[in-house]
Symmetry: C2
Amino acid sequence: MEANQFKDFGKEMIDYVAGYLENIRERRVVPTVEPGYLRPLIPANAPEKPDKWEDVMSDIERVIMPGVTHWHSPRFHAYFPTANSYPAIVADILSGAIACIGFSWIASPACTELEVVMLDWLGKMLDLPKEFLACSGGKGGGVIQGTASEATLVALLGAKARAIDRVKKEHPKMKDADIVSKLVGYTSSQSHSSVERAGLLGGVKLRSLQPDETNRLRGETLENAIKKDLEAGLIPFYAVNTLGTTSSCTFDRLDEIGPVCNEYNVWLHVDAAYAGSAFICPEYRYLMKGIERADSFNFNPHKWLLVNFDCSAMWLKDPSWLVNAFNVDPLYLKHEQQGAAPDYRHWQIPLGRRFRSLKLWFVLRLYGIENLQAHIRKQIELAHYFESLVRSDDRFEITEEVIMGLVCFRLKETNHVNEVLLKRLNGRGVIHLVPSKIRDIYFLRLAICSRYTEKSDIDISWKEVKETANEILA
Amino acid sequence: MEANQFKDFGKEMIDYVAGYLENIRERRVVPTVEPGYLRPLIPANAPEKPDKWEDVMSDIERVIMPGVTHWHSPRFHAYFPTANSYPAIVADILSGAIACIGFSWIASPACTELEVVMLDWLGKMLDLPKEFLACSGGKGGGVIQGTASEATLVALLGAKARAIDRVKKEHPKMKDADIVSKLVGYTSSQSHSSVERAGLLGGVKLRSLQPDETNRLRGETLENAIKKDLEAGLIPFYAVNTLGTTSSCTFDRLDEIGPVCNEYNVWLHVDAAYAGSAFICPEYRYLMKGIERADSFNFNPHKWLLVNFDCSAMWLKDPSWLVNAFNVDPLYLKHEQQGAAPDYRHWQIPLGRRFRSLKLWFVLRLYGIENLQAHIRKQIELAHYFESLVRSDDRFEITEEVIMGLVCFRLKETNHVNEVLLKRLNGRGVIHLVPSKIRDIYFLRLAICSRYTEKSDIDISWKEVKETANEILA
């Protein structure tokens, strides 16, 4: 493809994308296709000779769109939001053109340096303690991971390295395998499934602790578990505190958990994947009280801060545990400026990395802090509006305090009736939700996901819920 | 940012990108900036109010470009190529607009299904054994990983799960930790650093075996190591066979290693990160002889097949080892079609994933197999052309057989002289190379990286090398 063709094709795609997003409400939010729908729509083999780009363009509506779940439709209320904005899309065009692999500083200094400064910008927007910021001149700093699941794993691996180092100093004859077999981490039974998975991937025990009756993990629960494990000869080394759980957007008591972790020398990782974006608004920072006790903190601008996936921001007070633990440094990756700037390959699981900070830069500049705050506040307001509609109907109940953009609700009926409600709702195809279950109580989760969502959209979603309930209860 | 602004901004970026790439030769390949260059060029904080997109546009040349290493310049000969093409850039615009997270089939059926079929297309282009292809109806299939390092780790984790399962069946009382402490994997000392790192991340022993005098790992060496470990009571479980090493693009003897792995029930992972793209040309498939013995195979279309990073293609004969080993399946991720199509979240380390198969689809269609083959053949031809220039100068020697697009060469002088040569060459700033060292012999690596590279560019690169050598030897 020549440059001139690219210009035509690229600009046509820009127009298509604007049209897609501005009219996304009109599409059925979840497709009706069955598994295997796509294969018969395209040839069984790649073409020998090039197709025309115009044919590729027209195949988007024929082949792709019938199978797309429209995450950016105001009718999409499942999971949590994933970000999408025009500035981020344009930034990714530039990132795709530069297409450097930023595994070391010299491999593209701008790629590393913009990331260092953007994580400072972002950290300051959240008022993170200066120990996390590179601009403070200490050890700390931020990095863009692909996903929160990788951040959780990276933190666990750092914690593991730190614990092994400490135990070896105390017991020089102890073997690594023996130490690892005694390591134990902690999290709430309400934390994200990727925390459990990080334990499996990292090959360590991870205890799933019971939160209190409001679903928040408490310091006392953690301390009791740690004490019991110490008595049994085990080595507590890692804890994950969730700020905004996936099931119900609940906040563990970081103010209690932090001191316990510090006292017992347990690495504290704070996972605020979804809710962390809200901390750019000062009025929500009470929810991260105690953050200064954490060793690592992570949230996803690619969820709620309008920066397209993948952009998971992670800060570490002391990245050297990671850098040193998995440092493989072949000659072909060495350079003369090593040590003067981070070589981010040591901070993450993969070796390669794209120029992802560009989209953070574009979004922060082209929205400005004020508009990003307004975006967060508006979405929370819309959640409260939906909450008020639910509360106005006696047949329903709200099952969890609404703090962010998620509303957990159910019919005051059996789990089965609520399962039928959800299935019927999703089957109608106007809106899309997923359920969850806490202490055997099944409920529906309605997340405000699209940056296009307006009050009138919430009215439509509520009308759907209400009408479907009418059908079922009739 | 409104849709109309996006259209202006996006189209201006398309023009900028075309201009950047078409004129990339004119830029200094590696920047002259020092660590810390970028911070003073931009404000210390994100703006409160939005900037103008025109200002962001003009900051690209002021802030970013002075610090970019131009991987797509024909003067860039470091590492291995990373892909960049117009069709892939346009596909990523669409991917950014759809911005679905494809962790399960229902989360966006098109995202999963196009990936399944594209990995079949690609697998057929390489003539992979049908056991690896989803279209054969067996267990096997392909997946897009972010990087080869993740593929290596994912394979290792699958191998670990399989080995633990097997040993537990034989010795039901053995504990996981005991089994893991006895696991041992194998690779060549010439394999990529990420293989060693996968061992560190996975918490298992990984032996670095010596290749033969032509730098290829041999079956006999592996078999001897396995036998020795079995005698010592250890459990061989995993081996990595590299096709095209990073240092010198050497091919381990897969035809010998495969049978050994199969005999001893060792999971064989084949890492063809760079060279795998060449297997779309039938004349290079002799290098993957024995591939039918492998359990997993990986190469990076994002290196040499014109699909922008991240697109690392991996095939597994039996993904169930992965799916079952790390399967965490919370209610909010369940759906009714589970089992009828892959839920790719189980195939990878992160939970989230972008719609990456779009760029594979666009590239395969808009180049066609013929043009992709022509691209590979041309780059190999250019490498041979550079080789012939080196051979024409008695002061130089070629240190490794040139098979793909990499030429390893050195002055017939001490390592020190060659180190000075490289430092001087890179310092002049016209071309960029990185070195490597095998058996204490230091050499320079010249990789053909840019899709813009022509014979005249190679003449310029050779002229640089020759003139610099003249200076040093004078």
